[in-house]
């Protein structure tokens, strides 16, 4: 089956999934939950907002919605970085730089095939999970999006955009990451890593990217090097 993008242009997850088996049940359960929430909320606003995935009348990014939709966990953040767009794009585009500011990623190794790399992601108890990703879209100085290739242990997709901030105050960097952990023991481990505090890790990562780009270093309250 064709892989479809789970992140629309506003960074919101789309409802369709690549695996249609079991979808009817899942989406019905989802609708039931949403419908009952709408009842509690005393209106149909949330129902409308999420059932159709498009008819939202405010201008907020979709990941700020009060209810998530679909089977993917979506997290994302925006940060303003006081550096030119080209510089930040170039830094991010070299995926091997990601581990310098992303805590959950141990290393990123290009496979040799165009746009493909193996991301080694930290999991609990000192274990790691490898995920092979491919670049989906790459527009210089504007946006990069990637997703895990078919058959990966973690089904994930991400997108980062770079836009000029107003008044020459640098670049607005917005990251959105969607992921669906697999079932079973590995799934629970990955969920523990990623889902414990959705958004916190993404926020820390972007803050660290900002520090690196703006100051050339990562702030730390440590007084001495721990290995001493």
């Amino acid at each position: 089956m064709k892989q479809s993008s789970k992140i629309d242009q506003h960074g919101a997850p789309m409802l369709e999934n690549r695996n249609s088996a079991g979808n009817a049940i899942k989406s019905n359960v989802g609708k039931l939950m949403i419908a009952s929430f709408a009842l509690v909320a005393g209106g149909t606003y949330y129902f409308m907002r999420h059932r159709q995935g498009g008819s939202v009348y405010d201008d907020a990014p979709r990941k700020a919605a009060r209810r998530k939709s679909g089977k993917y966990d979506v997290t994302g953040r925006a940060v303003t970085i006081n550096r030119p767009r080209e510089e930040i794009y170039a830094f991010w585009r070299d995926f091997q730089n990601l581990p310098t500011f992303m805590d959950n990623i141990e290393k990123v190794q290009p496979t040799g095939a165009e746009g493909r790399a193996i991301w080694t992601i930290k999991a609990p108890a000192g274990t790691t999970v490898d995920v092979e990703t491919e670049i989906v879209e790459d527009i210089a100085d504007e946006l990069i999006s990637w997703r895990s290739v078919k058959g990966s242990q973690i089904d994930t997709e991400g997108r980062i955009t770079f836009r000029d901030a107003p008044n020459g105050s640098g670049t607005w960097v917005e990251a959105t990451i969607a992921y669906q952990p697999p079932a079973g023991r590995l799934g629970r481990m990955v969920a523990k890593t990623f889902r414990k505090e959705p958004g916190i890790e993404a926020r820390h990562d972007l803050k660290r990217l900002k520090m690196l780009m703006e100051t050339g270093e990562l702030s730390t309250g440590r007084r001495y090097n721990e290995e001493d």
Partner: protein
């Protein structure tokens, strides 16, 4: 090295701990020659600042000699520097606007969550002032690691001794910014609550900015005497009804500007303050704000409020209506120290400002626990303590 470490409420000790090292390229290590106890250190001492951990080195007013530099520090070994208590990267949006204490980068990413949640945005890094502000080791120690040393520390000339310049690290700029935040106009009447070191420097600054009259309010005789020496009229709130007095002393109008140099552990007899004391004691975390509340009621219509006093949480019974109905302006914030260091150093050098008058005690660092106890207990005589490592 020897350093003053925090272990809990009213429990500070001088311990032997690991020396600091260069960690990041822009770091420097300073050998401390003088360090002071700040009024806001008493908030730590009293255990009302959250996110402290046993063993934390406190202290944020310090100066010394550069002994080590990272490859990207602009300092040189042997230079004498005063270090601002606010840590600022110098390159973010806020540093660019000289709002140094709002620095976006100096608080480590993993320490930003608490303030981001409590205040809506993460605060900048500070030396020796809890993990919410970065978990940086403070200056009441023999050595300190100074991050972003190319931005913060100011090199001071050798002909000025430590006591003349030490307070550039915090309280002198804090007093100056407090007066600046009151938008003082010529001949204004300015009332200042609190004659601790910041209050006293605020009096000096307000007069230097052209205030016609400064009225200082406190209840420690020793501190009120110092305020009087600086040229303020004084009110002892244990003897006098402050509001009555202020109305009379301002021809029934109220002060043009009021300044709360007291902060979250305000003393007072009002019922709401007693409630707040009780709440602080049982750990519900209310900020006692009786000085601020009194100031808001006293200030004239259309007047200005400046709030250098430190607050960390929430307060009850805040006179929000008075703020709106009287059309008041309120300015506050941690001091943007780096903005004021050079101009204030110039004023010290020219003799325009003297900072040494408030030092009451000089002790070796080893006696810091005694100093804290006395600074807390005997405020009338212990106005400012300078420690020598």
């Amino acid at each position: 090295m020897r350093a003053l470490t925090w272990h809990g409420k009213h429990d500070v000790r001088v311990d032997t701990v690991a020396d600091p090292e260069i960690i990041n390229p822009r770091d420097a290590v300073i050998k401390v020659t003088s360090t002071a106890i700040c009024g806001s250190d008493l908030h730590l001492y009293d255990g009302v600042i959250p996110t402290m951990k046993a063993g934390d080195i406190i202290g944020h007013e310090f100066m010394g000699e550069v002994v080590e530099t990272g490859p990207k520090s602009s300092l040189q070994k042997g230079q004498r520097v005063v270090v601002p208590f606010t840590i600022s990267c110098g390159t973010c949006y806020f540093c660019g606007k000289q709002q140094y204490s709002a620095c976006d980068n100096s608080n480590p990413a993993e320490n930003q969550d608490i303030s981001a949640t409590t205040y809506g945005h993460a605060v900048g890094g500070l030396f020796g002032y809890s993990h919410m502000t970065g978990g940086y080791s403070g200056g009441q120690a023999e050595y300190v690691r100074v991050p972003y040393s190319d931005v913060g520390p100011i090199v001071v000339p050798d002909d000025l001794d430590d006591e003349q310049v030490l307070f550039l690290s915090d309280i002198l700029p804090t007093g100056w910014m407090a007066a600046e935040n009151a938008d003082i106009e010529a001949d204004d009447i300015v009332a200042i609550w609190g004659c601790g070191p910041v209050g006293l420097f605020t009096i000096q600054s307000a007069l230097a900015m052209g205030a016609g009259k400064v009225i200082a309010i406190d209840h420690y005789k020793g501190r009120l005497d110092l305020a009087k020496q600086l040229g303020a009229e004084i009110i002892d709130f244990h003897q006098t009804d402050v509001r009555e007095a202020l109305m009379t002393m301002t021809g029934g109008i109220g002060p043009d500007a009021v300044i709360d140099a007291v902060g979250m552990e305000s003393h007072g007899f009002a019922i709401d303050n007693m409630m707040d004391v009780a709440k602080q004691k049982i750990g519900v975390g209310a900020d006692r704000a009786s000085a601020l509340k009194q100031a808001i009621l006293a200030v004239r219509k259309g007047g200005r409020i400046s709030m250098p006093g430190v607050y960390g949480g929430f307060t009850d019974k805040f006179p929000l209506g008075a703020l709106m109905e009287k059309g008041l302006q309120l300015k506050t914030g941690q001091t943007h120290v780096q903005r004021y260091m050079k101009p204030l150093l110039d004023k010290i050098q020219s003799g325009e400002l003297d900072t040494t008058f408030l030092i009451s005690h000089r002790l070796p660092l080893e006696q810091a626990p005694t100093a804290y106890k006395n600074f807390k207990k005997n405020k009338s005589e212990w106005t400012k303590v300078v420690l020598k490592p």
